[in-house]
Symmetry: C2
Subunit: 480 residues, 2 copies
């Protein structure tokens, strides 16, 4: 099923052509099959599915800890429901898919495939919520969403079926409680991206004109890709009571007075897999952080004719022993050792254990880290303790390396020429801006690239556009 | 979010009107929300999602053990791909949904929403399989499938979006190897249904005219519902090389000769949740088998003004202790104790632990089994051991009870009048038949109900239709 089995290929170097490298690596590592005959729709292959399932499960556990309950809403949304929220539909009308026929019949009402689930869920929320005692209401689902992308599609990055889309939706008694939820959700996403995916990110408040359709404000989590463009992988929105007024989500407060609920929603998708590939991968293939690697360790027996059976049995014993604590695979196939090394390296498995007659004799194993290629010879006796430390260190080091590389990709700009130069240099420009949103808008127009968003400044500086006292630190760059 | 919160209701008795009872119970127990505004599409609520996720995970673990790898294929299938296999499309053309428009554009080619994934997957298989070394190829996915049901829809039983549809697809070097896979898959399904769901079933080979469109033969797993109708919850098909010839799935065998692959596919869906509800539920609500219960134990503190705090703290300690080994919930809400009992009974949680001042004083707990209402007072000291046994026993007893009730629902018929009488009596008729498939067909036509299928007979008897020596034991009854 994997490309490497039957095709010889030479990988493009990551530095040389990142985009080509990315497209190759996701195929040869067995993440996706790009030959499915519909544009923007790919097959998620076993290794890709395993990684996404694992990272989604880690995210879902945090959401459950936060009180969000899992549900599954139907894929179909009646067209009139989607069109109820005018701001919202403006944001999606060009990219929704319509089901118009079934069997030999034309449907009475067109059905829309969810591009996101606000308009599917919120009419139900209005049935479920009566009293302040029903609040907060917090749910999530992990489903495919569908967007008819007109821009060039790219596997895992811009697809027409977005798989493993994890969306949460919450209702609260007031604005403050919704703001608290925004903070908690942001904390969960920050933790997930940095601690599980081991990736660095920029969190910023999107400018007004780039806020989620129907939301009051949008906080975004962006990754800076190796080519210097930023890629949004998660967003957290405070919807205020825009949707609750449209969908009539009301409750009686403690004084028996009717109030509209305040809402939030937040989501993260397959792009998290794209981030892992792009940020950690190298010219040998994927490099997976131990926490989300479906297999953490492969054991490769080094067998010669003499004692081959003995080595294999020894490896089987070790496999049985380590299986209790780790996700582990024993590669007992009849492939050549070099080819096994090669395959598991491409797949990015964090640790490789080799055992041959020499190791067996001395009761040691040879361990190689995929992350930096470092080899160690370790006594079998304290193996678990050693592996435990090693996996922790790899996870930590990968995150640090990602943070370091992100730092290199962000550069401070003091004027517009500077911004242009930095973006030309495949980086993101960091700028100081005043309170006037027009300055951000003017900057975006002057540069012709995307203003990502901003956060309150920690500096005493001047606005890059008007020279007034700066209030915000913003980011501008090329966008995925 | 749950109906019981804000509406008073009286449940219909299961015996009195099974269908109404079923429709009520799945709402009040928080499994589904039926008010979603599209016919045949329901919201899967948190409790329903948790049960299905758990039971699906148990099934998926067995499939992985069997070597099936998880993938996710796109939802969209190009119309021309669906129409390639003539037998197959005949079976589905009346019930597929078509996407014809996206945004403001009409699509060049109509896209079909998967009713099942043969025609999405098999063109890819033909790219992946080259040599006998690529075989067997075994994959599965758990996704929603879409069928425009024209019959009356019923939540969890006949829906237009079938959620948590678990479908496996395999390719083999020859017919024998495919038959071996059919046996293994059947074993997995048998195990899952009886050991995890604790439900009894009839496994039979469907008659020729009811075989899956495009398959050589179909083995079905049917549940007999309390109203005496049978409901199919899983099927295993040997596709022979029908599809591989259409989709050009070929490989070079060990003699370098080109061969068409032999294929199987098998699936199971949300109907497994319907079976659990229908078979185990009673007039107080759901009764969940411990293996698939999202919560196995609820702790209810019995608090009076005096010592209330003490009791609660004691319950918290016990919760922390039992959490290590069990899926457990401490209900510390301010609802009345009776209302708590009621809620957790409706949800079918296997064990309830009550602790009040009396229990605390004696270092005991009161445990009540949901399955049979039996109460025990148990020393806190050996609680884990006791619970372990209890959960095992409940799982076992529930399965035995289901088997016993199934036995009562199947009755042997010696002639056509007998068949009619048995079906009128809300049971399934068991008949002996000869080798001639026409006899089964004639029986079905004469009775006007569904011939489910058969298995080799163990009896020395006569065919119910022609009087020849019987070869098969078959089943006939009303169908869901």
């Amino acid at each position: 099923m994997d490309r490497e089995k039957d095709e010889s290929y030479a990988l493009t170097e990551k530095k040389e052509n990142f985009s080509e490298w990315f497209n190759q690596i996701i195929q040869v590592a067995g993440l996706i099959e790009h030959r499915y005959p519909i544009k923007g729709c790919e097959v998620l292959m076993p290794h890709g599915t395993d990684i996404l399932r694992r990272s989604t499960t880690l995210l879902e556990e945090m959401l459950k800890e936060n009180g969000n309950k899992e549900v599954v809403f139907p894929l179909f949304i009646p067209e009139n429901m989607l069109k109820k929220e005018t701001e919202h539909i403006k944001g999606f009308e060009d990219e929704v898919y319509y089901v118009t026929h079934a069997g030999k019949n034309q449907l009475n009402e067109k059905l829309v495939l969810r591009p996101t689930s606000e308009t599917a869920m919120y009419p139900m929320f209005s049935l479920w919520i009566r009293s302040h005692k029903d609040l907060p209401l917090k749910i999530f689902q992990t489903v495919s969403v569908f967007r008819y992308e007109t821009k060039m599609t790219k596997p895992l990055v811009r697809t027409r079926e977005v798989m493993f889309f994890n969306e949460s939706h919450t209702c609260h008694k007031d604005w403050e409680d919704a703001e608290k939820e925004v903070k908690e959700a942001s904390l969960i996403y920050s933790k997930h991206i940095s601690e599980n995916l081991a990736v660095a990110f920029i969190a910023s408040k999107r400018p007004k004109w780039d806020t989620f359709p129907g939301a009051v404000h949008t906080k975004a989590f962006d990754i800076i890709m190796p080519d210097g463009k930023f890629m949004q992988i998660g967003t957290v929105h405070n919807l205020g009571n825009n949707f609750s007024k449209t969908f009539d989500i009301k409750f009686k407060d403690e004084n028996e007075e009717e109030q509209y609920a305040n809402q939030t929603c937040y989501g993260m998708s397959t792009r998290s897999l794209a981030a892992i590939v792009a940020i950690h991968g190298d010219d040998k293939g994927l490099v997976l952080p131990p926490k989300i690697a479906p297999i953490q360790i492969t054991i490769i027996p080094i067998m010669f004719k003499k004692d081959g059976e003995k080595v294999l049995n020894h490896c089987k014993d070790l496999y049985a022993r380590l299986k209790k604590n780790y996700r582990i695979h024993l590669d007992a196939s009849d492939k050549a050792v070099g080819s096994k090394f090669y395959d598991w390296e491409i797949k990015g498995i964090p640790l490789r254990i080799e055992i041959g007659p020499k190791e067996m004799e001395k009761n040691v194993v040879t361990i190689t880290k995929r992350f930096d290629g470092e080899k160690s010879t370790i006594s079998e006796k304290n193996l678990e303790e050693f592996i435990e430390n090693m996996l922790d260190n790899i996870q930590h080091d990968m995150r640090r390396a990602a943070e370091y590389r992100q730092k290199e990709k962000i550069q401070k700009a003091i004027d517009k020429e500077d911004v242009n130069r930095i973006i030309d240099d495949k980086k993101i420009a960091k700028v100081e801006l005043c309170e006037d949103a027009n300055c951000a808008k003017k900057l975006e127009e002057a540069i012709g690239e995307n203003y990502m968003g901003d956060d309150k400044t920690k500096e005493n500086s001047k606005c890059i556009m008007c020279g007034q006292q700066s209030r915000y630190t913003g980011y501008i760059g090329k966008k995925y």
